[in-house]
Symmetry: C2
Subunit: 709 residues, 2 copies
């Protein structure tokens, strides 16, 4: 038996803290399990009651007549700790602690929570919570409703993991209204032991779960998350994951921090996580439902060509708009399909996509239209819209749709508009597992997510680069800087480290005197740039420490003095190591930026974008968490809007995108090899025509000794 | 009595084509009026029935015992025409033609529709339809349900105009579920006589309408629409208008065209219409409901600072995210408010925004929190979130919210999550006119729209420019080109026309020989550009017809020959008028593009954006329909993302935005003065530092004689 089975499918359950007072959590949870018709044996534990709701109570866990699989603990922190200790002695395998007052209030609460986790780990007990709503398993052979909610949801194939307990009740309530069926339902609370990642793995192995919905505030483990979630969504027997992640905005992150006591990372990190793992992101709780309904149906389109069938023009147009906006296309029907539609539909019908079967369409007209459309090889799936009109037979139409759906692997998403008039049809579709939406936009958006997932599962796989890096040399340079107590490396050092990872740099020499500056400028034989070098001066331009386009040695020597003087004016005590004399980059290139910031829990976040205004005004940047390989680098670069500029814009030749891919992979290797690199910017990296490589224009590396991190 | 009152509030109604057969439209509409408890007198007209549903029938309109206000006609086109003729003779004031088969099928249908309209106009009858669902007025003193729908909606203060009949039924169905109240409900169908604009005006004057929702496929009258809708949304007694406009995508426009037989304009035009009229655009039918609910409440926030009160962390975070994404801010509470919250709430509560009153909050905790928050001067409105938890009293909480809401002008938007558990509270809020949403995102989004509307009503008003234009001279230049049968003006002519409207142009001379080219280049005394001039060559660069940066007369003379030769190679029969020798624009400027396209029905669409990649890759452009004044020009320029570049970016000086405003106003005047200008591009207009003006770099003007338009 898998460890979490003791929690989700226990043979016996004890509610520790079961109360006789209605309204108290310890009473309500006990009643919800009891009245939910739990298929195992249920024990109330209460030292002061002989029975709870007619069920014989036991004064303590140790006095239970047999070992139980699961203990639901509803007790204040200190008593909860004692109960866990007792449970360990009794041989209990799973625990759910519902009560609050632990890590989220800090101080003693946090301490007790840590002790409980230690005790569970020692005893081999798995624990959900504390500070959670509980768990629900509506499977007819289990029927465990160990939650605050009086509603046991219907059994189905969607599992839900929620980091917000309060949200769970509302979600169950909506689910009841829409007859949503669940496989497993779990509120993770403080996730002191079992966290979202472990649950994702458990649900991935659950044959009853077709799709996992998650409400997430923050993840607990960054690097493992990527590896595991990617495997779940695209490995053997892939399971789609749909997530609402709150804290998209800075204000939202602050609200989350004050709520859970943990600092959620910036949204860019989460966006990277989701991109890298194929997780579908929903923008709202309502979308979460809609997407889960579509995925639960288990039919993923092979392509993005959608056929729309409707009995009303307006909703057809609305669906068309959202189809296009969701990255899909309106299918072009074959001649054969058009002929079939023409022969079956009245003359006023529209036989092109969207097919309008006209307001008075009976079910057979839908049947003929859908059969023709779905069997067209140029169609990857269909959206069927029904509005209640005078001749509409919602149930009959639902029946023909369900019959056709059985015989095709192409997804058919339905939109039956209205509530009262169409409910018999909606129920029939749901009973047959077909996703049905209230508004045409929702069906089209959900289809867009199915297609997105299809592309993720069938994503391109390029050969990896064979890269040779000089990790040792880079380590030495880094260690030297750290040994000298310098948190930021000089540009020259930074470039040396980058060179160890295959980056090309501009020829440059450190001049310590004006004479050297002149000499070096002559020897480099080209327009050069002069840049001040001082550990105290990080932003060279701001102190007038950079002069570009110097053509001769004499000017270089003069500028050397001027630069040093300006540097000292701005930072009087700066130690000036000298002035870097650097060959100017060739102009024809395009500036791009590569960057990295290292975050606790999450890891190193890589950044890529075009330089200057593209980043600063249009925010056209993309993030990924290292390590990444070539395919992730390729997707990163392809996903910026400015990709057209890299591909050769307005007759300009395409740029060396392969080199950019290699650069990102090398950068990833570099930050993985050297955890001391805390922050890094290559700004700009000048990239040239295809085959002509790229060169580092400037770089900035901030170090942090591992012990400071 | 206003003309449309005969349609919406008739004293007596005849259903012409009333049928005795259930399921037929002529039967169902009659029954819906009858069973809807219509307060006037209802007559069925049917030549073959003695009575319809026990009501005495009359064989024809002329035999009705009295003149009636409104005739609902449910007859095929030819019979409908006869009925209209009879109605005119009988003195009927209003007609609704429900039947289809008119303009939308073309041919005879269109002809009959035109005849009906002519007859109505002649007789002073106002007509809704044909091809529509009907009209509904739920006011208790009228109770007219002249529609296909068996549901008479509740009476309320939202009016709905729909261009899709089928959508109406679904909307009524949803409305019933959410207890949405309507003032007037009308399906406009082919809008052969009464169109959306007239209805907007009528509903604006209707004291029972607080907000107008519209489902729109295309508008009938462009220029009047802007003037009228702007007056409705921001003149005396402003009425907010919320619109779903389908056909956002090209595919959607095509679907709309095949549906209604009319060509909907590109979405850019509609976006311009909505921006210029203060119409709130909803992205989906569901949003339409949500926004209308918020506006129906009639409280518009003075600013964008929102206070959030919640009994659950997760939904509070979700609301915070959407608050920020919707252009709002989280209010910063005053010291006094924080102290009041601290004194009223338990120690674990969060007294900063979002206020977390904790899961076990009874109604008085909500009351204290909301009272403190809403009276804070730094708060412009509140979002109150309730999730059903163990101690939650949804009704009690709704009561305290409603009590507080009466005494404040600040909007309070509620989100009661869940369906079953909170319904008593939701009902109470709705009865008191308070907007209540199902998900926190919806409340925050709706608040964003309220604020958007507040900004529209309080928009800035700059003094208009005093511009003097030489309209006559421009006319002469245009007429000369038209007289010569040339659809496109030469660059030189275009610049002359632009100069008549105050645009600065680069010094330029038309060289007819290589010698002249050399001479002119010397006389202009600066780097010049050479550009081929030929009526057959529109895209000069594509044929190698442009050479830039020529520094001396000799090179200019050589290039003259090369340009002419290349031109003739590409367009063998081109008549070459010569080569324009033009002073190069100064480099320091920023390129912007001004453009215009003239559309039938809609008018001249002005375009503004930054040049090159900004337009082509980032689509950072904005549109308005001429005529525009300075304020609209100002809003246009401010609304592009690249505005930061114009305001002075990275230490660069701010550019001459006032000149850009003036240029747009002048361009607007120019295209209004000269309807022969069909298309126009000024690309680039080089704009310089503030106070240093702008200069036309190149322009292209396409003419069309008015008779061709």
């Amino acid at each position: 038996m898998r460890q979490l089975d003791a929690i989700f499918s226990p043979q016996s359950v004890a509610v520790v803290g079961a109360s006789t007072t209605p309204g108290k959590v310890g009473h309500d949870i006990f009643v919800n399990i009891l009245q939910g018709d739990y298929r195992g044996t249920l024990y109330p534990v209460n030292p002061r009651a002989r029975s709870v709701r007619s069920v014989r109570a036991y004064p303590s866990i140790s006095e239970l007549p047999e070992p139980v699989d699961l203990a639901i603990i509803v007790l204040p922190p200190k008593l909860a700790l004692s109960a866990v200790e007792e449970a360990a002695e009794k041989g209990i395998k799973g625990i759910v602690i519902v009560s609050a007052g632990f890590r989220e209030i800090g101080g003693d609460g946090r301490k007790i929570e840590d002790e409980i986790v230690a005790k569970c780990r020692q005893a081999g007990i798995r624990m959900i919570g504390p500070n959670c709503l509980g768990v629900i398993n509506p499977n007819p052979s289990v029927r465990l409703n160990a939650s605050f909610s009086t509603h046991m949801p219907a059994f189905g194939h969607i599992s839900f993991i929620s980091q917000s307990g309060a949200l769970c009740t509302a979600v169950l309530d909506f689910a009841a209204e829409r007859e949503f069926g669940f496989s497993k339902f779990v509120s993770i609370g403080n996730k002191a032991d079992v966290d979202e990642l472990e649950l994702l793995l458990f649900l991935h192995q659950d044959p009853e779960t077709n799709v996992i919905m998650v409400y997430l505030e923050e993840i607990s483990r960054g690097p493992e998350f990527i590896k595991t979630a990617k495997h779940i969504t695209s490995g053997h027997r892939p399971t789609p994951i749909v997530v609402v992640k709150s804290g998209r905005t800075i204000a939202g992150q602050r609200a989350a921090a004050s709520h859970t006591g943990s600092l959620a990372g910036s949204d860019a990190i989460y966006e990277a996580f989701f991109q890298q793992t194929g997780i579908i992101r929903a923008d709202s709780i309502e979308d979460l439902f809609n997407y889960a309904a579509a995925f639960s149906y288990k039919k993923i389109p092979a392509g993005n060509r959608v056929g729309i069938i409707t009995n009303a023009g307006g909703p057809g147009i609305v669906a068309t708009d959202m189809t296009i906006s969701s990255g899909l296309e309106l299918a072009k029907f074959s001649q054969e399909t058009v002929e079939a539609l023409t022969s079956h539909l009245p003359p006023t019908a529209n036989v092109l996509n969207p097919v309008d079967v006209i307001g008075d369409a009976p079910e057979d007209r839908y049947e003929n239209a859908l059969r023709s459309v779905i069997s067209d090889e140029g169609v990857d799936g269909a959206i069927v819209i029904l509005t209640p009109q005078s001749m509409t037979n919602a149930l009959g139409t639902a029946e023909v749709i369900a019959r056709i759906a059985i015989n095709t692997q192409k997804p058919i998403l339905c939109c039956f508009m209205g509530v009262v008039d169409v409910s018999a049809g909606v129920n029939h579709l749901q009973e047959h597992g077909l996703p049905v939406f209230r508004f045409p936009e929702q069906a089209a958006q959900a289809f867009g997510k199915l297609y997105h997932y299809s592309r993720w599962m069938n994503r391109q796989s390029l050969d990896q680069f064979k890269l040779i890096h000089d990790k040792d040399r880079a380590s030495k340079i880094i260690q030297r800087a750290l040994a000298q107590g310098r948190p930021s490396m000089s540009e020259l050092e930074g470039e040396q480290v980058l060179q160890c990872y295959g980056f090309k740099v501009l020829q440059s020499m450190l001049a310590r005197t004006k004479e050297e500056a002149g000499e070096f400028a002559e020897s480099i034989k080209a327009p050069v740039a002069l840049k001040i070098v001082s550990p105290q001066i990080l932003h060279k331009s701001d102190v007038g420490g950079v002069v570009l386009n110097i053509d001769d040695g004499k000017t270089a020597a003069q500028e050397f003095e001027a630069i040093v003087q300006r540097g000292l004016e701005h930072v009087p005590n700066a130690e000036i190591d000298g002035v870097l004399v650097q060959k100017m980059a060739e102009r024809e290139g395009q500036e791009v930026i590569l960057g990295m910031n290292r975050y606790p829990i999450y890891g190193p976040l890589l950044m890529f974008g075009l330089g200057g205004i593209f980043v600063e005004i249009f925010r056209d940047v993309v993030f990924r968490v290292a390590p990444i390989g070539r395919n992730e680098a390729h997707r990163m670069i392809s996903s910026i809007k400015g990709i057209k500029i890299l591909q050769g814009y307005r007759g300009k030749p395409p740029l060396d995108v392969e080199t950019l891919e290699r650069s990102l992979v090398s950068l990833s290797a570099m930050v993985m090899d050297h955890p001391e690199i805390h922050e890094l910017d290559i700004n700009p990296l000048m990239v040239y025509e295809k085959g002509k490589d790229a060169v580092v224009g400037d770089c900035r590396i901030i170090l942090k000794a591992p012990e400071e991190q």
